[in-house]
């Protein structure tokens, strides 16, 4: 099995052999839901950070009885897994007050004693990026660190934290190399393959991931161009961990060469400063990284980031997607559409449901028409 196939196996399901191997060593696994949760902190305590998604959920009937019909399908799928023992391999879960939907998913999961994991936590993140907000966030991360240390009788020493920061920085640098290759004239990877790799990065030990990623980088060097004659696209918007969605788009004569996603560039573009106090540097990195639309007053920064990605990867158009009822990305996308089109970049806005191939036919028709428009 090649390195890519191994990563695809990891991102293809919920638990995987790396998670199992970690647990077999008597170590803990903690689910987390958002890019504002410093993974390094857990990794430094020998706890495996595992990104929660709704992967593989085909039916949300249990979650539907607790959430309202205007909660997004991602939150529903996460809660469904939480309430139906899909995540019973986890020792805990940490959520962020990222949006209304995910808060409701957390509350409903945490309140069900029979389904709740041994450790349930919500890490509050400010909605503004200010010096006071950074102080607040640092205090919150400190409280979270203490709570985990107390609960699991583990310690994140400065040295261990420094090591974890180095591992994650290396990971982001390596992933960025893949983005560089995709930005070139002969992208060796499809967008679906890239998403497969990124999904795996958050579902296995990061040092093991780095080892496989280096092999992937070696392997893709000899690959042919994955997108000759195809229309180069950027994809941006709500949480997206479905390679099948991208595959669907790419099967129509397009290639996704970059993105602005929390399962993508927004999660890897910023590195943690490796000089000075690692805890302070880590908090600063997470708080100030490429902002999600939940951070108020930073639309211009998000627009500039999307434009930068488009220019860098020579994208000919942009898909702005949002999961139905995701008002944060929905409103941001409306602004992005206006501003990108004013800058001469063709845009399609897609409202979608979370989940592999849901609504695939409609998406195909719309993307096909969009590609014809770009020409």
């Amino acid at each position: 099995m090649g390195a890519f196939e191994e990563l695809a196996e990891v991102s293809g399901g919920l638990s995987n052999r790396y998670v199992q191997g970690w647990k077999d060593q008597g170590k803990k696994v903690m689910g987390y839901v958002c890019t504002y949760m410093p993974e390094e902190l857990l990794f430094a305590m020998d706890i495996l950070p595992y990104r929660l998604t709704g992967r593989g959920v085909a039916d949300t009937s249990v979650a539907d009885s607790y959430l309202s019909r205007v909660n997004c399908s991602f939150a529903r799928c996460c809660l469904e897994l939480g309430l139906s023992a899909g995540y019973d391999f986890l020792d805990g879960a940490v959520f962020v007050n990222g949006c209304d939907h995910i808060r409701r998913a957390y509350e409903n999961w945490a309140v069900h004693e029979s389904a709740a994991l041994p450790f349930m936590y919500i890490l509050p993140v400010p909605h503004k990026i200010t010096p006071e907000g950074l102080d607040w966030f640092q205090e919150e991360v400190g409280s979270f660190k203490s709570a985990v240390e107390r609960r699991f009788k583990l310690k994140a020493s400065p040295d261990k934290l420094r090591e974890a920061v180095a591992v994650y920085n290396e990971s982001r640098r390596l992933l960025k190399q893949l983005y560089d290759l995709r930005a070139g004239d002969n992208p060796p990877l499809t967008g679906a393959e890239m998403l497969t790799i990124i999904s795996a990065s958050m579902a296995m030990p990061r040092d093991e991931f780095n080892r496989l990623l280096k092999q992937v980088l070696d392997e893709v060097g000899s690959r042919p161009n994955a997108g000759p004659g195809k229309t180069r696209l950027l994809i941006a918007g709500s949480i997206m961990d479905d390679p099948e969605f991208i595959e669907n788009v790419e099967s129509l004569g397009a290639i996704v060469v970059t993105d602005s996603l929390c399962f993508g560039t927004r999660n890897i573009w910023n590195l943690t400063d490796e000089d000075g106090d690692p805890f302070t540097a880590l908090c600063k990195r997470y708080y100030e990284h490429e902002p999600c639309p939940r951070m108020a007053g930073h639309y211009r920064r998000r627009l500039d980031f999307v434009k930068e990605q488009i220019e860098r990867a020579k994208a000919e158009g942009a898909i702005l997607e949002h999961i139905k009822f995701c008002d944060q990305h929905g409103t941001d996308n409306a602004l992005l559409k206006k501003d990108l089109e004013a800058a001469g970049i063709p845009v399609i806005e897609l409202e979608r449901e979370y989940g592999p191939l849901s609504d695939a036919g409609r998406v195909r028709t719309r993307v096909q028409a969009f590609l014809e428009r770009i020409g």
Binding site: K128, A296, G297, D327, T331, D332, L335
Partner: protein
């Protein structure tokens, strides 16, 4: 009836009329019957609710006169040299009164579209037609539609003083600020409800007050703020 200009001026007119309901009103008379029949369904229901019962009618006169005065203050803000601020329902209007600014609660203005002949639907639709997701809460959406249609003047400032209250409330202010080029301020509200959170909120609030002092050209007078709070408490 389609979208019409000068929405707030028309609201003032409606409330003025609604504040002058005569003591005696014969709902069986041909004139009143014709008047009621000429109204659109939502206006008709509102009119009947406030005018049919003689006791309610008396209270309606007071209520409508007050609302007419309030919206007139909004319309005349510019000529009186007062800055106009749009804010969400979960923020303090007292601070604006104390700084001689005029504040409009977006959710209330949204509701007031019901007094217009054309009603609320055309504004809700226009906001979506021009980009806003159709799942966005309707509590603010008509105001976005009115700004799109240019039937209300742009405020001098937007303030979202309750970030994190809910997603639509948080996002709609950023959306309006960017789309209509209006300066926008934000105050963060922490996840918890404790002393530490209050201090964080207080510091954010004070920073916004500094900007408000610059925009309004007035220094915040604590005695005036106390007086306004006292009046607000009395009204509550």
């Amino acid at each position: 009836m389609g979208i019409q200009p000068n929405a707030i001026e028309r609201m003032v007119g409606t409330f003025r009329m609604g504040g002058g309901l005569p003591e005696e009103l014969d709902f069986d008379s041909p004139a009143i019957k014709a008047l009621v029949a000429s109204m659109n369904p939502s206006r008709r229901k509102t009119f009947l609710a406030m005018a049919k019962d003689p006791d309610v009618r008396k209270i309606s006169n007071v209520f409508n006169t007050g609302l007419g005065k309030y919206w007139e203050r909004v319309v005349t803000a510019k000529e009186k040299g007062r800055k106009l601020v749009f804010m969400p329902f979960n923020f303090s209007p007292e601070i604006f009164y104390a700084l001689d600014m005029v504040s409009v609660c977006v959710e209330v203005l949204n509701t007031m579209t019901m007094t217009l002949e054309e009603g609320i639907a055309s504004y809700l639709d226009l906001a979506v037609e021009r980009g806003l997701p159709d799942s966005m809460c309707s509590a603010q959406r008509a105001v976005v539609g009115m700004l799109e249609a240019e039937v209300i003047a742009k405020p001098d400032l937007l303030i979202n003083g309750a970030l994190g209250g809910c997603d639509p409330n948080t996002k709609v202010f950023e959306y309006m600020g960017e789309k209509f080029d209006i300066p926008t301020l934000f105050i963060d509200v922490p996840y918890y409800h404790d002393k530490r959170s209050f201090e964080y909120y207080r510091r954010g609030f004070k920073q916004v007050v500094k900007v408000l002092e610059e925009v309004s050209g007035h220094k915040l007078d604590e005695d005036r703020l106390r007086e306004v709070c006292s009046l607000s408490n009395r009204a509550t």
